[in-house]
Structure formats: structure tokens, C-alpha cells
Symmetry: D3
Subunit: 125 residues, 6 copies
């Protein structure tokens, strides 16, 4: 696992834990429904749901959210080609303003693949 | 086909034709790549691509884009339950600001289903 | 109560009911946490929370959300002057792109006040 | 002048006057700096500044702001072709989510031209 | 005062000074009305206005703006619990796309509190 | 050429090349139409088109896009004063949420000018 991936995950896990410690009911429920949306029973299979989260994150131009869903989509079994195609739809819908985020997304995707022989599971957003 | 759907489609078709008459190369190419993104060969099947376009449109809160992809997703074979689940992910990612758009989306979806015995195909965005 | 207010409320109530009928767990939980955020126990009093929702809605430029929080803020006891001042902060943060939404907000606010002798309570978003 | 243009202008003027009556210093200063940005002395000529306002409005997807700057750009002397080219840049930057707004913009532009033999000056935003 | 806070403040002050040196009237007036919005006389007290600026910044997902208003809200006397509750409303309105910004906000808030025994006043945006 | 400019350009060029290697037709066409929008024949001259791209990028708050168009506008012959005036329109339209991006834009603009004795041409976005 590359350093960038590791740092990203550690920061996210550490700060998510810190946020939940704040013990705000509204925040905790949003975190809970976030898990439910992607992992609960449903009509759409897991990889499709992750790609939906990925494209939503890309057009809203949130790098950390994109990184999270890239990792989750790969874990759920999406191929690189499927992920790239999903991102191409985000690029068309969102326009060239998305390009800098696509650059960072592809860099992260390359790192996820290179480091695939090590631990890449991510269990909290 | 309900009047709202018919008006939506006619306006879109009429103005898209008008836009292409402007004969601006950049605009024409964007329209062309838009078609390619959803209809060309690809890794993801057509319904999934339409759901990706739907969720991107929903989180960016574009009612007309949502309506277009709702119609296209149904034509491509997505079930009502799959469409609703895709929109639920858009709602989680985009927050309660999405709710008014979800109301209009569900109203349009109901009309699409009620009018399903008539012509609902839509061939230009 | 003016016709515009009445139509706004009826449409919202009718479609919110329709959305909840879809029986999607994720959507229902988002609606539930939305209520909790503004009405549950908390550190900030109800008018302040409504003004926070109002300004968030204004800078995100969601007319229906703005209308909802205008009505809620008045019901919670905010004065016209406080509401206008909150919106002035939204205008500064969000820029002149907010102006058309401010026009519709002020029109709705005027109608809320004119129709204040009739029923203006709104109990679902 | 077409009815749509007339209604747009009258509503804007009426509500802008209403907003200024609220006598909020912050709001009034924002309105004042808005005028200054497009009409004051500067390095860029008036048509270019209006096209900048137009493209900013288009990528932020504010129909009323787009309509205002379309009228202002024409009054300032921009040709139809220049206006369309400016909007094509907005479409590329902002993506296909801009298309519904482009449809409404082109419809309004057509009406501005058709009604050009009558009064089209607009003196307050 | 932590290094992150100090660097943030120094960069902001240095570049704000640099921007004002550009001597553009429009830019200077926007900076001026920004101060007026939060510090001038008004109906809402200072902490509420800072929380309004904070939530607007959070839903628009501007980390630097969030940091600025976190510091200002604390200086104005808002408690940690009030600040967190205000941010929870931003999270509900803005959705899970806000979470990465909430992580950075909470990290900064923790640093503001830890370094509270030293100078934390910030007098220009 | 300053290190920040050099790093920005190298990263962009390296990752753009990497993206094109993905060989996705939709992505490649978007990159192609992006070049066409700014460099092809047209009604508006090159500096104006770059300023339009700059303001669109600024109100959409994309730092990398702003940096790219700052460099392009300078290369195309826009003066510092014209660039600043264009950005002032973006600030008015987009509001104070744009200020942190304006800080980074002005810092980059200063570096572009300081390093103007060395190679600053940038030939791919």
C-alpha cells in the first residue's frame, strides 16, 4: 500500500473517530445512513452503488470522496475499465472543471493497483 | 404520455435543434460526446450508465437533466426500485438540499409510469 | 394565506408523502434526520437553527428550501429584520448569483407576512 | 419586446426596488458594487465585462443572471456570434449539466433579437 | 497557537494585504462589505452571525472559509457544542460530500482549543 | 520559473498524458474540445477567451483551472490589470467564498510575473 493511500486512510479513520466522539446525534445518524446507502440490502449490486457514489463525488469535485469510492469500487470488484468509464460520464456531465480532480483520481487509482498486493481494505468512510 | 412529459420533450427537442442551428463547433462536439457517453460501446451496460447520469444530475440539482435520465433509464430497462435506490444515493451524497429535486423527480417518474402505454421514447437529449 | 404559499405547501406535503410511500430506508432516514436537526434538543435555539438552514439554502440557491426555512423561521419567532440580516450574510458569502433567489425569497416573505392572519404552520418539510 | 422579456424585466425591477426598501446596508452595498463591476471605469471594455458576467452566470447555472447578461451584452454591442462563442466556453467548462440552461438562454436570445425594434434597455439588475 | 493555525493566519494576512495592494475598487469594496456583514451593527448578535458564515462556508465546502469562521465564532464566544451543532445542520443540508470538510474543520477546532492559551485573535479575513 | 509553477505544470502534463493513455474515447474527446474552445478560430480573440475560462474557473472555485488560465491569459497577452479586473467580476458574482481562491490566484500570478524571464509556455491543459 502506497504512503499516499495509507496517509489518506489513517487521517480519515482518525478524524472520523474524533467526529463520532463529539457525540452529536445528527452527525452520527448521517454517518450511519451513509453506511446503509452503500452496504445495506438493495436492488443494485455493491459495485454499481460504489460507482454511483464515485460519479456523484466526481461531479461535486470532492477529492477525498472520490478516493474513498475508488478504493471501495475496487474492493467491490469493479474493473479499472468500468471505473474509468464511470468517471468519463462524470467528466461529460461536470465539464472540464472536473479535469484536475480526474488527474488526482487517476493517480490514486494507479496507486491502488500498484499496492494491491498489500492491505487495501477500508472499513470506515 | 402525460402533458408534462410531452411538453418537456417537445421543448427540449425544439431548442436542441435550435442550438445546433447556431453551428458552433464546440457546442456541437459537446452534444456529440454526450451521446457517445451513454450510447457508445462500453464496459458498463446502458441502464448503469443512465443511472450514473441520473445521480450526477441529481446531486448537481438539474431538474431537466434528472427528467431526461429518468426517461432514459426506464427505456433502458431499469426498474422503478433501482431508479429510486440510485436516487437515494444521490440524496445521501447531496444532502437535504436535494429533496425539492427529488420531489419533482418522483412526480415525473410517476407520470412516466402512468403514461407507459403510450410513446415515451426520447431520442435526443 | 396567499395562493403561492398554499400551493407551495400542498405540493411539498403531497410529494413528501409520495416519497415516503416509496419505502426506501435510506430516503426515510434522511427525512428523519432532517427533522431532528431543526427540532430536536440542542444547544442553539430553534430560530437560530432555522436561520442556519435558511442561509445554507440561500447560498446553495434552492428556492424551495429557502421558502421552507423562511416560513419556519417566522413560525419560530424570528423577526423580519433578523431574517433579512441572515439573508444579507448569505448574499455576501454567495455573491450576486444569489440575487435572483433573494428576489423570490423577499416576495415569499412579503406573502408570509400579508397572510399571517391565516394558517401558516407547516409541519413537514 | 416579447412578453417573456417584459415580464422578466418588470419582476426584476419591482423586486429589486422592494429589496432596496428593506434598507439593509450590506445588501445595498452588494447591489452597488455589482453596478460598479460592469459599468465603472476599467481595463476591459463593457462588452467583454458583460461576457465575463454571462459565462460566470452560465457555469453557475443561474437562468435569470444569464438572461440579464444576455440583454446587457447585446446592449453593449456584442454580436450574436460572440455571445454564442462565450457560452460555448461556459458549456465546455461546466459540462452537459449546462445544456438545459443553454436552451433557455438561446430561447431568450432569440426573443431579444426578434424584439430588438422595441425598447430593450435594462437599467437595473 | 499551533503551527497550522499560525500558518493559516499568516498566509491569509499576507495575501489579503497583497490583494488590497492591487488597488482594484471592486475587490476592495467586496472586502469592505465582508467586514461590515459580520462586525457592523445589526439585529443578530455576533456569534450567530459567525455561525451563519460558518454554515454557509461549510455547505459551499470552502475549508479556509470554514477555518476563518471557526476562529471568529470562538472569539465571539460560541461554545464548542454550539459550533458543532451549527456544523451538523450544514452536514444535513449539504450531505455526505461535506464529511471531508467536517474532518478538517474538527481538526482545526481541536487545534484552536488546544492553543487557546496563546494569541488566537484574527483581525482580517 | 518558480518551483510552484514548475511543479504545477509537470504534474498536470504527467497526469494528462496518463489520462490519455487510458484510451477512453469520451475522455479523449472532452480533452480535444477543451483545446478547440480556446485555440480554434472564433469570434472572440484569444485573450478574451482565456479570461472567460479564468472567470468560469474562479466562480467554480477550481484552483488548478484558475492557475492554468492565468498562465494562458498572460501568454496570450492579457495585462496584469485586465486579469485582475476579470477576477474582480468573478469575485462579485461568486461572493466572498471566492476570496481564498483569489489569494492563491494572486500568489500564482505574482510568481508568473517574477519568473517571466524563463520558460512559461504551457501547451497542454
Amino acid at each position: 500500500m502506497s504512503n499516499q493511500i495509507r496517509e489518506f486512510q489513517h487521517y480519515r479513520e482518525r478524524m472520523n473517530a474524533r467526529i463520532l466522539e463529539l457525540d452529536n446525534r445528527v452527525i452520527k445518524r448521517i454517518f450511519s445512513v451513509d453506511s446503509l446507502a452503500y452496504s445495506g440490502d438493495g436492488q443494485l449490486d455493491r459495485p454499481v452503488r460504489e460507482l454511483l457514489g464515485l460519479v456523484a463525488s466526481l461531479v461535486l469535485r470532492c477529492d477525498d470522496c472520490v478516493r474513498y469510492h475508488l478504493a471501495e469500487a475496487m474492493t467491490a470488484g469493479s474493473s479499472r475499465e468500468e471505473i474509468v468509464e464511470a468517471m468519463s460520464i462524470g467528466l461529460v456531465v461536470g465539464g472540464t472543471i472536473v479535469i484536475p480532480h480526474l488527474r488526482r483520481a487517476v493517480e490514486f487509482l494507479d496507486q491502488l493497483e500498484t499496492g494491491a498486493d498489500t492491505d487495501t481494505d477500508i472499513d470506515t468512510e
